[in-house]
Assembly symmetry: C3
């Protein structure tokens, strides 16, 4: 029971190396990714149509892949072009190919009807590849259904409790009521939290003497992508003065691996004309710590639901 006619992130761009075969399961379907000579990514069902062996255990031959079990060869469209021991392969021998595109460092596959694959439906993950936004990419594997992670991302009141010592730092985040608007394929959530202590990781980035005003403004769009501007600035600064503010942009997305397991791709960028490696590391470390807190809680929740 998955949403099929949409783009799912299957990999970070850097995960698919030029000469390697890369396999990842999406919506319960094993998918092979590899790069063709022009650098684009082919996405084929990772299951030979002959005896169901994973093609990713075979080898790349030019823009084709050869099955490592009995040697059938498939081109980048999934058409079988060679079957050892036969003069020509059966006309219908092929594996499914998936529309696949790369946008801003995320590789997307379209899991539904190929003719409906529309690049206009890709999320605006600009900060993944922007000269003024800097980050280290993250990936987590979850042993829980995707919906529980979406549920987590849709209610930031959990920052006060799950992330009390990492991203949160004040019960006021949970007390603040967000504004929620409808947008195409999702919602926009705006949570503004005035006059709170800066969280621990802010303090590592800058020196704050007093309280800050914080904001979390994000789109959450199907099938499971969060695109967020967030930050904080000293309460005494004028609303339009961001000179002493921390400004962040985050792209996070959850892709079902199976009905019960999930891929989580994420980054949180800081803004600047050039990357500050120390700040990149501080933010990444804070995310990893916090997202482990989320995973622990969501895994415990899933176990409770399954009992």
């Amino acid at each position: 029971m998955f949403i099929r006619n949409c783009w799912y992130v299957i990999a970070w761009d850097h995960e698919v190396l030029p000469e390697a075969l890369f396999s990842r399961t999406v919506l319960g379907e094993p998918i092979l990714l590899y790069r063709t000579a022009n650098g684009s990514v082919a996405a084929l069902q990772d299951r030979c149509c002959h005896r169901a062996a994973p093609l990713s255990r075979g080898r790349k031959e030019g823009d084709s892949v050869r099955c490592g079990y009995h040697g059938l060869k498939f081109d980048a469209r999934g058409v079988c072009t060679e079957a050892p021991g036969m003069d020509a392969p059966p006309a219908k021998a092929c594996v499914r190919s998936y529309p696949c595109t790369t946008r801003n460092k995320w590789i997307f596959v379209w899991m539904g009807d190929a003719e409906r694959a529309d690049p206009a439906l890709l999320p605006d993950n600009f900060s993944n590849d922007h000269p003024e936004w800097h980050y280290q990419p993250g990936y987590f594997h979850y042993e829980t259904p995707q919906a529980l992670i979406c549920d987590n991302l849709l209610d930031f009141s959990h920052l006060s409790y799950v992330h009390e010592k990492t991203l949160g730092g004040s019960q006021a985040i949970a007390q603040a009521r967000p504004e929620i608007e409808s947008i195409p394929r999702g919602i926009k959530v705006s949570r503004r939290v005035p006059n709170v202590p800066p969280p621990a990781y802010y303090q590592r980035m800058k020196t704050f003497q007093g309280m800050v005003d914080r904001w979390f403004i994000y789109d959450f769009v199907l099938p499971g992508t969060l695109l967020m501007h967030s930050g904080g600035r000293p309460v005494e600064d004028a609303p339009d003065d961001l000179s002493r503010a921390i400004r962040l942009h985050s792209c996070q997305t959850v892709t079902p691996e199976t009905a019960t397991t999930t891929h989580y791709f994420f980054q949180q960028s800081h803004h600047g004309t050039s990357a500050n490696p120390e700040v990149v590391q501080i933010i990444y470390n804070a995310l990893i710590a916090a997202f482990n807190e989320d995973r622990d809680m969501i895994t415990a929740q899933a176990r409770n639901i399954a009992l």
Copy 2:
């Protein structure tokens, strides 16, 4: 398919510390235990009514517990008294609370209709807390259904074979026919075994020159508690002379964790005006060795049944 209207042991008294949240699953239901200011134990469903997170991952606030996911607060009756971001929590927000009582070091929960919870139905586990009986408490986790352990406790002929080198020591135990009487909610089993060698652990406690008469007299009461007087004395002593006898009392109980896993709480006491730490240790060591023999056999039996 559990018996519900009865008391189940959920923990040893010492397992629930004053400031901690303790969680254990009984009959497939996760249950949170914690102590209120007056020292009594609150037992709540360990599953927040909001998003099913375990309350045991939250924190204790006075006599209440706050969920660690989105911050809902529940009192010791399970009533939600605070929901962050709301002026007042929804009127019906609550988690189930369980009748809970402590008797002689065992904490019991009543898993059925609360109004039927009757302290008169608690088993007579007196030796768990008696100045003349001394023991070290034991706990095992079983990866088998509860019924197979009850089955084990109901037929002590297994002492001759499973416990040949630990608690048994003679095939005569299996040969002896027990008397069995009906008692409220259970049976009384009396097995007397005359003129046998003392088992290995008797020999570690006292010096026996010759044969002993042994006895095992126990009540087995639903849902799964064994209360046993046992012992042995030199065959040459008069029947009413216990001066050279070994006298033991044992309380053992099995509580289903789920349909396929079980909690086993046990002790075996020796009688004396004061504890003999060496004897406590000898008996405990013999029990641990023997109960591992039982668990190995019952686990193998369960595996066979499941094949």
Copy 3:
């Protein structure tokens, strides 16, 4: 859904020691093997008819076995001859016994109707016990259904790809078309591959200067046994000249443990008036390496099918 009226290999002869109880599950049924005084092997259901405990956790008493749980004793036909605490065991108390025979180092059990057990249906595994054939016996456990391994053994085109660097060495093996004939309870497969480089393990046995003609001639008979003559000789030698050839005979058989797991017994012998221990080791090492390649591929295939 197993084929039942046939012989399955349950063990290598050397696995069942004179005084020990040996247990292995076949077609989901746990089976106890032990040797009686005359050296023959008794095969009993490894599940006491009393409380389902494995008899293999009990002890051998002469030609009988005594259950280690409550002490019931069974003779080699599976008849209960003693039940502790009873004057005589119940008349019907027994465990199933299986027709069992040893032929050329393989111990076979008949899993169907005992009266249909026919030694004439045993496969001709002669090289397991022949003065001119020499080998080291092998055993693998598979976490896959038996049928996938039969599937593997029925199509040697996989040698070119799965075993490219071990048993194969040329794509010509896959290109060669085998002749297939029907035989009783199976098929005969003849694959001849002229003029190919000798595979790596041939080179370790002898010095080949040039190309070889290779052959793989095997019977595959139900429920899952491969009996194969194979080898290679320099292309320049006359067809009837085997003086410089490598001649091998292999017996391999797969027995379902359960519906999803399998036992694999195998050997590959070389021919000679006496064993050459070095050659035995070279062949065994090559088999282990290659059969691990098979198991990796088949396990990945099974995982794909199960997704």
